[in-house]
């Protein structure tokens, strides 16, 4: 087995996370925002896996499983919300859903 600095894995996770974040911030299409959230979650999971590998412990993977579970739940609820939004507003533009304007 080869050796690999943990930082590389974390770096990858960080880059992915930031890409997801940028996308989340710049996209108005709400489906794209949902995808970005998925990317970020995935990046977070990656970080756990890397850490788990570093210490050769199962905990990192357990956390990843939890993240996956959460992501699944989130996507299902999020998609349901998107459907409702689209039915009500006839658009995917997240800025249109600004009824909560203070």
């Amino acid at each position: 087995m080869t050796t690999l600095p943990m930082e590389y894995g974390l770096l990858l996770a960080g880059i992915l996370f930031v890409i997801g974040l940028v996308s989340l911030l710049i996209r108005r299409n709400i489906i794209f925002m949902l995808i970005s959230v998925e990317i970020m979650l995935n990046a977070a999971g990656l970080a756990f896996i890397v850490a788990g590998a570093r210490w050769a412990q199962a905990d990192g993977q357990v956390m990843f499983i939890f993240i996956v579970t959460m992501a699944a739940a989130e996507v299902s609820v999020g998609l349901a919300l998107i459907l409702q939004l689209y039915h009500n507003l006839k658009t995917l533009d997240s800025d249109a859903a600004n009824l909560m304007y203070g």
């Binding site: 600095p5 992915l16 930031v18 896996i49 412990q57 990843f64 499983i65």
Partner: protein, 175 residues
């Protein structure tokens, strides 16, 4: 294996960038699948083959398919792609991008501040994960179960088409 890691990482980053820069949703999703696959390879190199499998099954499989179904239900047209183009102006994305870049720089700084500690990527068996999952983390499993249950109920409730009761005289003709 090192090389595998770097190639997979590069593919993951490139594919993810492509995801966020696409205008067409379906194209973006394809890149997303690629990105997930690349990450699963990374998992493999890190000695977590079970997780690599989970990644492919759940992320690349279930979740992306779910999103595609929804997109199909929404009946999107080229008009929407046009919208995307309009929405994604440089003046919109430049600010967030700069901020996020700073964040990234800081993260890199944090990761590299200490001397790198090498490690052997000893694989952690699925059995160990299972022991851990149903040992100390059993409460978490239960909670995740509940979360999923709530997710299903919530999605069902939200996704239900509510019957609109509008008096027929009041119904707009174009609606």
């Amino acid at each position: 294996m090192e090389l595998t890691f770097f190639i997979a990482a590069a593919i993951a980053i490139l594919a993810t960038i492509m995801v966020v820069t696409q205008y067409n949703l379906i194209h973006a999703l394809l890149y997303l699948v690629v990105s997930f696959l690349a990450i699963s390879v990374v998992f493999f190199t890190l000695g977590a083959p079970f997780m690599a499998a989970l990644e492919i099954i759940i992320y690349a499989g279930a979740i992306v398919v779910l999103i595609i179904f929804v997109i199909m239900m929404l009946n999107l047209t080229t008009e929407d792609i046009q919208h995307e183009k309009e929405w994604l102006q440089p003046r919109i994305w430049i600010g967030p991008a700069v901020l996020s870049f700073i964040l990234l720089v800081e993260l890199v700084y944090i990761f590299t501040i200490d001397t790198p500690a090498n490690y052997r990527s000893t694989p952690v068996e699925a059995k160990a994960v299972g022991m851990s999952l149903f040992g100390p983390y059993v409460l978490g499993v239960q909670l995740s179960g509940m979360l999923l249950m709530a997710g299903i109920v919530g999605a069902y409730h939200l996704g239900r088409q509510k019957k609109k009761v509008i008096h027929r005289f009041l119904e707009r003709t174009d609606a």
